[in-house]
Symmetry: C2
Subunit: 391 residues, 2 copies
């Protein structure tokens, strides 16, 4: 093999897609700390601290709270495959790609699948969930809090209450919401909640934070069959993350360093301040975009602050705009997934990137590109509109 491989030298990007987001330099530096063994007393201390920090981030006292050693999608699989045994009924709320993915996983777990659909960009209605719950014995109601494919922000209160009234577990995907808008696991009585690290927590992708409440733990303990995934089997993983420290698999040490540092930054800032920061920058971004004639895609009143989905203006070439943003300005934004491909852009303002500097940089780059695409709007209007929000 005569190939030569050069030194790694990735360009610097402003990551405003649906994740990964940029991370604080402190998080990158944490990964270059020397490795410890996965049973080293010093690593165990780091695990304990990460767990406490994650409990804070999830706003929970659940002891079964830990990062799954794989990315957010594995968090989804871990949540579902630990709760669903063959023949169990799961009701999945679907309004985008990630709800669809939940359905796929439920079927792979040999669960009986029921679904309630909403139009993409809209949220699922409690009445429709209630109608299904009344007709069926459902074990798990699963829902996506922040649908990354549409930018819709799903309210959880009523659906969670209905799930519990019908003795079902309430399982929630917070991949794109945790750290960017309120996720209050205990106050909202959420039973199983998972997330990813690379969105509003601003940690590189590679771990999936997860938490199981008392009802979920009871369901786990009452299983008649083994969890079908050995790797994601929480009855075993928890023995490593508890004081027992029973070896299961080798923890990804460096990713756990990054995770602790990212959560330490969340804790330093404070969740409330972080949520407000995401809201403010979301409003400024939308104001700037609207000044260029760009309209939001997600339903009014249900728009995620962390992921801004907008309709691509008529006549504007999706691929060319995204390519010019990337190549001329080093800025990544997301295109549409699945049935909205070519129709929307997804602009993430997550964690480290939810700042005034980012918003203004992005608007300044987008404006000349859009004008060269023939989009008609008042030149120079975007920045003042955004600045007005900052006051």
């Amino acid at each position: 093999m005569s190939d030569t491989y050069r030194e790694l030298n990735p360009p610097v990007r402003l990551l405003l897609g649906p994740g990964p987001s940029n991370v604080d330099p402190r998080v990158l530096r944490a990964m270059s700390a020397p490795l410890l063994g996965h049973l080293d007393p010093e690593f165990v201390k780091i695990m304990d601290e990460s767990k406490r920090l994650l409990q804070y981030t999830f706003q929970t006292e659940n002891y079964l709270t830990l990062p799954v050693s794989a990315t957010g999608s594995a968090g989804m699989e871990a949540a579902l495959c630990n709760m669903i045994e063959p023949g169990d009924t799961a009701l999945v709320c679907v309004s985008g790609v990630f709800g669809e993915r939940m359905c796929d996983i439920v079927e792979r777990c040999q669960g009986k699948l029921l679904r309630v659909d909403a139009e993409w960009g809209h949220v699922v209605q409690p009445e429709e969930v209630e109608a299904v719950l009344k007709q069926n014995q459902v074990k798990v109601v699963a829902i996506v809090h922040a649908e990354t494919s549409t930018g819709a922000h799903q309210p959880l209160g009523d659906i969670g209450r209905l799930a519990h009234e019908h003795d079902a577990l309430f399982l929630v995907d917070t991949v794109t919401s945790l750290g960017g808008c309120p996720v209050k696991v205990d106050e909202w009585h959420l039973d199983v909640v998972y997330s990813g690290t690379q969105k509003c927590l601003s940690c590189p992708p590679g771990l999936a934070p997860i938490t199981f409440g008392p009802r979920a733990v009871k369901a786990l303990e009452a299983r008649k069959t083994k969890v079908q995934s050995w790797y994601l089997d929480m009855t075993m993983v928890q023995r490593y993350w508890s004081q027992e420290r029973f070896y299961h698999h080798t923890a990804p040490i460096s990713m756990n360093y990054a995770f602790r540092e990212a959560l330490r930054l969340v804790h330093e800032e404070g969740l409330e301040a972080r949520w407000e920061r995401h809201q403010l920058n979301h409003r400024a971004l939308l104001a700037g975009l609207q000044a260029m004639g760009i309209q939001p895609f997600a339903q009014e009143g249900h728009r995620l602050p962390s992921l801004n989905s907008v309709r691509i203006p008529e006549g504007v070439n999706d691929a060319r705009v995204r390519s010019r943003l990337l190549l001329d300005f080093g800025i990544e934004i997301g295109g549409g997934l699945g049935k909205v491909k070519g129709q929307i852009w997804r602009i993430g303002l997550m964690g480290y990137n939810a700042t005034r500097k980012t918003v203004l940089t992005f608007l300044s780059a987008l404006e000349p590109i859009l004008r060269s695409e023939g989009a008609r709007f008042e030149a120079g209007a975007a920045l003042p509109a955004a600045e007005k929000v900052y006051g």
Copy 2:
């Protein structure tokens, strides 16, 4: 929450356990490179290079060669759950913890399990495998090449030939051998092979290199049921790792940086030189240990160069010795797992750590500890015995 969390500051360890091993500073530095999106053209180039480097490391032309986005144990699960459908028969060769783990996973995949056992520390005999193959229609013969729990080095030639004579796929765990001793996927006709990053590749834990040969791909394509794990489903994962770049899950970007750099180091050194380096240091370590009266545990002629299992001398306190190595010298070695707990030590000389400096440092630290434990041997004999091997 009034807790305070200090800056991450892990102590420097010499990691001579069963993994993770220490890694080259270049690998740690690679992880602090700025993040790219998982569909960025620059990241795609990195994926392509990593794939070529991994093909070299596995000595294969298999196009379905990639790092699974989770640790080595997920590699085991990926290998088995992609090949085994409910009702399929798998013959698992068991001579330690990791063979046992394969059995557990086969059953979770609803496979029909047959097993051939060998005494721990010994290798599985081809005749015993043949006897089972003659009596049963077996789809997969699964075996551990380097049993991390015993230090035994399993020969693959005869068993692989028998598997193919009986139309079975040959599935091999090389978690502790890849990069430390020959693993020649194409020349040896191995159908599915997986590994971990944190052993002889000297990359932090977090990815599981895997490769599927033509027979395995055919079996994958002929499946009647979906792979039970969505996250590990190679029919989908491969679409992201092929030129199609179809989004499946967000790749762990920083871990992939580290992986490319670790493989680049393997490529720079050359596999043959690397295998020789592991052999030489293994012999020196054993010579030094034997000079202190310590005997190997694994069967003669079948000892792994990368993981040296030795019997704990009589009267010596296992936990105390390991604790003093760690606290007084910052050296980690492994204790016994499962049924050999308290009976053996496992001393890894993997990748970056397979050096003369490491061997001499370790022997120098162990000698005074063993003497204070009352072990009887000629003082000062260990280092010269090791040095003699280096010549």
